[in-house]
């Protein structure tokens, strides 16, 4: 089932064209890696799809509904969820509260202003279950600002999963994580719900080859490749995009 379709998405900052008629589609179960050299417009593309940026032209369709003009939060409520390249977490809250707030929001309970946020035991248990699954059970009560960066990256993933996305956009989920901590991120990504569609920006080809079943390459705001992870390594167009004039 098709969950996300992007049609001819275009955006320019003054004379600089950062997205040139990008089109792609994601179906249930897809694992797509979006790669490209620095400045290719990868994060811009994610910001366009999530609604942080408004396109000059083009259309974004989420599960059959046109969301092109919709606000960020409205898209999230319809199942379009993202993580951030640099962790954006509530650092002064506990790890558990970070995930609990996502669950309360998903359940439409954040307008409740009388009873304690942790009153509903099933929701707290769900938050703890998400954390347990990612090996964060021990730090559930700790302040997010006090835990290791690798663990913070896992909290980002826990929040994203807790929102029950249809389409999940991961912006460099392993950025800033040490080699030693990487296997936990890989395991967490491999264990994402199988029916959701995942689009992942990632530089690390090792990670891409392990997790993605399809790769698209962005260069100077345009899609230059769409195919299998095995084919991308030997594609001359991709090599040219990465190496520029040195590759020719």
């Amino acid at each position: 089932m098709e969950l996300l379709r992007v049609e001819a998405l275009t955006l320019a900052f003054g004379g600089l064209r950062v997205a040139r008629e990008i089109s792609l589609a994601l179906a249930s179960g897809d694992r797509l890696a979006l790669i490209g050299p620095n400045g290719a417009g990868k994060t811009t593309f994610v910001n366009l799809v999530t609604g942080q940026l408004a396109p000059d032209a083009g259309r974004i369709v989420l599960a059959g509904e046109d969301v092109t003009r919709m606000a960020v939060a409205a898209r999230v409520r319809r199942g379009l969820v993202r993580t951030f390249q640099i962790s954006r977490l509530f650092r002064d809250m506990s790890v558990r509260d970070n995930v609990l707030l996502a669950i309360l929001q998903r359940e439409g309970r954040t307008a409740r202003a009388i009873r304690h946020a942790a009153t509903d035991r099933t929701l707290v248990a769900e938050a703890d279950a998400h954390l347990e699954r990612l090996g964060l059970g021990e730090v559930a009560g700790d302040r997010v600002g006090a835990i290791a960066y690798g663990q913070q990256r896992l909290v980002e993933i826990a929040i994203a999963v807790a929102l029950r996305p249809k389409v999940l956009l991961l912006d460099e989920p392993a950025a800033g994580v040490s080699r030693a901590e990487q296997p936990r991120i890989v395991a967490a990504l491999a264990a994402l719900p199988p029916d959701i569609a995942v689009l992942m920006i990632e530089h690390d080809m090792d990670l891409v080859l392990r997790l993605a079943r399809r790769v698209v390459v962005l260069a100077a705001g345009a899609l230059v490749f769409d195919g299998s992870p095995e084919a991308v390594v030997s594609d001359p167009g991709v090599r040219a995009a990465y190496l520029g004039s040195y590759g020719t």
Binding site: A71, L89, A111, R112, A118
Partner: protein, 337 residues
């Protein structure tokens, strides 16, 4: 013994304990004021009314991260609503007058919230100043209703519950203020610990992250502004009922600024901090201005500088800071042994 390690408390139990502790501290401080300072109850009631204003400011600034220098507009909105109902409507029941203050503050809060929340950062701060200046100018202009610069007089509340008159000693007013503060503190603790309170804390920390959870930020902030207005309005009404007058100073820029100073002094984002900041600051100011009428402002300034430099999170961080110092002093001693 096997079970020497204490079982960890659940977050709910821990938060309840803090609330109970806060209520006990307010009640104890209230009793101390009544017994030890029977001649200063008028001043202490003013402190209580200001405490409600600072608590209200904490809701939007401490918990939601909204910068404002116009919060006295909400206090004044409540004070004038209550005062005008008494002076022009002939209402004498103090509880009805408090309810009018609450409603007046709520409406002022919603309106000023809708204006102030259109911007963020410095423009937001400027808008908040504009709001309080406009409110003040409006109150001055409508002198037929508000008494203008002469102030609104003719507020003479009847006895509380038909029994306790507002006498010259101010005992009834003071006790009403303490009771009001207890109720408001309990209600606000419940509010800040609720899902809505959690959302607001999230907004303060990272608006973009909250949006990425699918939450609507502006309606939540406007709602919090309304609640904050109700609390500040109660403070204004308490002031109107207990002093019998409402002046333009109740919605002045100066009052807004001093409320912010007291909040920072005690520690924004903590209800206890807001209360401690208000009480310590006002009592210090009161004592120092009586002891040294020429240089008291200098002394107040020095105290503020000291707190901001050494306790950037306010007085509420003092116990943790002291505990940290003690631990650090103890650590080398153990290491050398």
């Amino acid at each position: 013994m096997a079970a020497t390690k204490m079982a960890p408390r659940s977050p709910i139990a821990r938060d309840r304990l803090v609330t109970a502790g806060g209520l006990a501290a307010i009640a104890a401080a209230g009793a101390i004021g009544l017994v030890l300072f029977p001649n200063d109850l008028g001043f202490l009631t003013r402190v209580l009314a200001t405490a409600l204003l600072v608590l209200s400011l904490d809701l939007v600034t401490g918990y939601c991260g909204v910068a404002t220098l116009g919060h006295a507009a909400l206090f004044g909105g409540g004070a004038y609503a209550s005062g005008m109902l008494a002076a022009h409507g002939g209402i004498q029941d103090p509880l009805v007058l408090l309810a009018a203050g609450l409603a007046g503050g709520l409406v002022t809060g919603l309106v000023s919230g809708l204006v102030i929340l259109r911007a963020t950062g410095l423009p937001q701060l400027v808008l908040s100043i504009a709001v309080v200046q406009l409110a003040s100018a409006l109150a001055n202009k409508l002198s037929g209703w508000t008494g203008g610069s002469d102030g609104l007089s003719g507020i003479s509340p009847g006895p509380l519950f038909g029994r306790f008159a507002f006498d010259l000693w101010g005992q009834t007013g003071y006790l009403l203020g303490v009771a009001l503060l207890l109720v408001v503190f309990a209600a606000l603790r419940a509010l800040v610990l609720s899902p809505f309170g959690l959302l607001c804390r999230g907004i303060r920390e990272d608006v973009i992250r909250v949006g990425a959870l699918g939450a609507r930020v502006r309606p939540a902030l406007v709602a919090m502004y309304g609640i904050s207005g109700a609390v500040a309005g109660l403070g204004g009404a308490l002031s109107a009922v207990t002093t019998g007058v409402v002046g333009l100073d109740s919605l002045s820029f100066e009052r807004s600024a001093s409320a912010l100073v007291m909040l920072v002094f005690g520690g924004a984002g903590s209800l206890g901090g807001a209360l401690v900041g208000t009480v310590v600051f006002q009592v210090f100011e009161h004592a120092v201005s009586a002891a040294n009428p020429f240089h008291w402002l200098t002394l107040v300034g020095l105290l503020l500088i000291a707190v901001v430099l050494f306790l950037p999170r306010g007085l509420q961080a003092l116990p943790a800071r002291l505990a940290g110092l003690v631990r650090r002093r103890a650590a080398p001693a153990r290491g050398g042994a």
